[in-house]
């Protein structure tokens, strides 16, 4: 049998050019591939790319739309970044998002008749708790029974969505909803106000930025952050040194689940006002792309969420204008994800021909 004709060799001290070239090439390659795909749809690739950019950032309206779309992605991206940093594979941000949204509508539709200043933090806390609890189950199954969390968190997404569907057709069904599976609307006190009057951007966005900063501080400055990084990089060494690995994993899960749940809270309280089954077009899954493109850096998550949200919003408006299916956006992001993980590897290793 012939040998595989390549080998990876670590680079001890990568130069600046070495650490910047592969990611740039990955971005260029993604754009080229997207252009080719647009041509397949019979469109002019330059106008398609232009339309995406314009649709995402070209006007105040577009920009606000992008910021609004980025908000839940920052939350889920942070949730994934926190979990993946400890190599806890939470693929269930979708379920945790809905858990947060559920608590928000259960408590925010009249159950708690408090003034906004008290009610909104209470709803947010409730959402965080719910998300944390939802992820606690896979975390305990993993630490107690050795069940792989990838499969359990994935399956939880399906279970939880059915659970929401059941509630929306049962106890939570809005009597005024004309038969649609939809919850009642939040009371006005429960709604997140806009940051600036007249601009369609709510405080959820500010909260997401705040969370990113908080996560960054936790990861770099706190003892827990150190533990989470150690557990992620080498679980065996962490356990040997006396780091309580399982406790750290459970804490990581609680933090991750809570962050993802805030996405649901912010979507319901800031944007939609009620809970429906299409609250999230896969924000939980897209959070994985956001986190990976940010190299799991919490501050990077803000940038990559804006980028990803821009692609989605831009693709929506491009699709209306140029007739290219919006799935182009998903393909671009999946391509960017795969090329980027490869590019990051190539900043640290060189390929040697044998």
């Amino acid at each position: 049998m012939r040998r595989w004709p390549m080998r990876l060799e670590p680079i001890a001290n990568p130069s600046f050019a070495r650490s910047i070239t592969p990611p740039v090439l990955a971005i260029i390659a993604t754009v080229v591939i997207a252009s080719l795909l647009a041509m397949l749809a019979g469109a002019n690739p330059f106008s398609v790319l232009g339309l995406i950019l314009k649709g995402a950032f070209g006007s105040q309206f577009a920009l606000l739309e992008t910021l609004n779309r980025a908000t839940p992605l920052i939350f889920t991206g942070l949730a994934i970044a926190v979990a993946f940093r400890a190599k806890f594979w939470n693929i269930g941000a979708e379920a945790q998002l809905y858990a947060g949204a559920l608590v928000t509508v259960v408590l925010g539709t009249g159950a708690l008749a408090w003034p906004g200043l008290a009610l909104i933090p209470a709803l947010a806390m409730g959402a965080v708790l719910a998300g944390a609890v939802v992820l606690l189950v896979p975390a305990i199954l993993k630490t107690r029974f050795g069940v792989d969390e990838v499969v359990t968190t994935l399956l939880f997404n399906f279970i939880f969505l059915l659970f929401i569907s059941m509630l929306l057709e049962g106890p939570l069904k809005d009597p005024m909803g004309m038969g649609w599976p939809k919850s009642a609307r939040l009371i006005p006190e429960a709604r997140l106000p806009r940051i600036v009057d007249g601009l369609r951007l709510h405080w959820g966005f500010a909260l997401s930025i705040l969370c990113a900063l908080a996560v960054w501080v936790i990861q770099t400055r706190s003892t827990l952050g150190y533990e989470m990084r150690a557990v992620g990089l080498n679980r065996e060494a962490a356990a040997f040194a006396g780091i309580p690995v399982n406790t750290v994993l459970v804490k990581t899960a609680l933090l991750s689940g809570g962050l993802a749940a805030l996405a649901g809270f912010s979507e319901v309280a800031g944007l939609k006002g009620s809970l429906t089954l299409d609250l999230s077009p896969g924000f939980g899954y897209t959070g994985i792309i956001v986190a990976m493109l940010a190299l799991l850096n919490p501050l990077g998550v803000i940038v990559s969420a804006l980028f990803v949200a821009g692609i989605f919003v831009g693709a929506d408006s491009m699709s209306r204008a140029a007739g290219v299916p919006t799935y182009l956006a998903d393909m671009m992001l999946a391509t960017a994800l795969l090329l980027m993980v490869l590019a990051i590897l190539l900043t640290r290793f060189r390929v040697v021909r044998d």
Partner: protein
């Protein structure tokens, strides 16, 4: 032996560089039919690199390999095998969950052929194993075999392919002295059948016992080539080490009070690896307690118990004068136990952490490194810088990722991490495995210094020479059982070997502690 027999293997001016390091510097070597050539050298001398080039793991920068007069294509792992060269690696390349037959048959028949023909393989293995006195059950799962049996499987793997040239990399490292003798008998049998052997070792007495010729490597250079008849151990030792290094002198110690004591401790078996069987052991101040034994006989379980990684199933631990109720890695660290782990890459360090982060791996949760849940990175960095200076860790600085350090420097950082707290007890599990001679002596001198200031040092090693050289008392572990303590100088290697093989536990033996 036979200076005129045909040359079966010729390495010609092999040179291999890794960056600035010259791992092999124009090395030429030849092997004749029916001959045993020993390749002698310390760790890092370039032996493994040379054999990797022969087997296509690396491509040489220059030079060539000839087998039976034909030049091997470089970088082709299959070519050496097909030309009739087999190798028994120091770290066995066996799949634990497959059977002996499956491990041996792997890759022999073409992957395109439709049938495995296990029964044919079984018959051939059976006859080889009888012919060369390599006893092993072909249907056994490799994971259930002892280390000695696994090595037999490795040798059978080579013989099954009808190799003409066999390379053995440190084959006795994992054997009792008696098992090593059996191995030599098997090898002599194979030589008489026309096999040629390259025997890689750093143990002089073995080289003198089995080899016809010796090639000595030092720092990537071939420094001498001679017949064993024309040399002796002292001359070889000088050639191998150069003049730089000298083993530390050891003063006699006076044992103090017992710091940690295990009383009738048992742990469960893990798969095929035995747990401890009612082990009692006293670690006394001012002593190095050596634990001899073939790996996989309960050393890991004992290290885990002492190091806080597992609580005994039965029996008690007494630290100072307290009977331990709760025992964990963190409790061990806080109880004053310095733990040098067996595998510094996997368990000792986090490769992608920098030196600072690695230096506080055990102490991170306590002051001064952590207060109220927040880290004090400046204190941690100062601590790392102190270790780097005091323990002579060669590195660009505390912000360097530890994966870029050599094994010796990595071990020095671990030493600093655990010894800076002035521990009462030092658990040193294979502390010098894979280190070059300079680092070995440094580690040993640190262990002796810890002993001399009153610590109890538990030294676990498979290397009998090192155990016998350093220890004030020696215990032998076999099948999870612990021998009585033997004082320094009271045991010969062969008597220890009897205990290592598990004999002696049942016979009444005069205590010698």
């Amino acid at each position: 032996m036979n200076g005129t027999a045909e040359v079966v293997l010729r390495l010609d001016a092999i040179t291999k560089r890794f960056g600035k390091l010259v791992a092999n510097d124009a090395i030429s070597l030849s092997l004749r039919r029916g001959e045993v050539v020993a390749l002698l050298g310390e760790n890092g001398a370039g032996k493994t690199t040379l054999m990797n080039i022969l087997f296509g793991g690396y491509t040489a920068d220059s030079g060539s390999v000839e087998v039976f007069g034909k030049t091997l294509p470089p970088g082709n792992s299959r070519a050496a095998l097909d030309a009739g060269v087999g190798m028994v690696h120091q770290h066995f390349t066996l799949a634990d969950n497959l059977t002996v037959v499956e491990n041996i048959a792997l890759g022999v028949r073409s992957l395109k052929s439709p049938r495995l023909r296990k029964s044919e393989s079984y018959i051939k293995i059976k006859s080889l194993s009888e012919g060369f006195n390599l006893k092993v059950d072909p249907h056994a799962r490799v994971g259930s075999l002892t280390v000695g049996e696994r090595q037999r499987v490795e040798i059978l793997k080579a013989l099954y392919r009808d190799v003409k040239i066999l390379i053995l990399d440190e084959p006795t490292a994992v054997l009792t002295p008696q098992e090593a003798d059996d191995l030599f008998a098997t090898l002599r049998l194979a030589i008489s059948n026309g096999l040629s052997i390259i025997f890689i070792s750093h143990k002089l007495h073995e080289v003198m016992a089995i080899a016809d010729r010796v090639a000595v490597l030092r720092h990537g250079k071939l420094v001498a080539e001679t017949t064993t008849a024309d040399t002796d151990k002292n001359a070889l030792s000088a050639l191998m080490m150069g003049t730089a290094a000298k083993a530390p002198d050891i003063a006699v110690s006076v044992p103090g009070k017992t710091l940690l004591s295990l009383k009738n401790v048992s742990t469960p078996d893990v798969g095929n690896v035995p747990g401890l069987k009612s082990v009692s052991l006293d670690l006394k101040a001012g002593q190095i307690i050596g634990l001899a034994g073939v790996s996989g006989n309960g050393q890991a379980a004992l290290a885990d118990v002492v190091g806080g990684l597992c609580m005994p199933k039965a029996g008690v631990l007494v630290l100072g004068d307290k009977v331990l109720k709760h025992w964990s890695a963190r409790a061990a660290v806080q109880g004053g136990i310095a733990r040098i782990p067996e595998d510094r890459h996997k368990t000792g360090t986090v490769a992608d952490f920098d030196l600072t982060e690695n230096a506080i791996l055990e102490g991170y949760s306590t002051a001064p490194f952590s207060k109220g849940g927040w880290m004090s990175w400046s204190k941690a960095r100062t601590f790392a810088a102190d270790i780097i200076a005091k323990y002579d860790v060669r590195c660009p600085g505390p912000d360097t990722r530890i994966r870029l350090l050599s094994g010796g420097n990595m071990q020095k950082l671990i030493l600093g991490r655990v010894l800076e707290a002035d521990p009462q007890i030092v658990l040193a599990n294979q502390p010098v495995r894979g280190l070059d001679i300079g680092a070995v002596n440094y580690v040993h001198s640190q262990l002796l210094a810890a002993r001399d200031r009153g610590a109890a040092v538990l030294l676990i090693s498979e290397d009998l020479d090192k155990i016998m050289g350093l220890s004030d008392v020696i215990h032998v572990i076999s099948g999870g059982r612990l021998s009585p303590a033997f004082g320094r100088g009271t045991m010969t290697p062969s008597r220890l070997g009897i205990w290592m093989a598990g004999q002696g536990f049942d016979a009444p033996v005069a205590h010698a502690s």
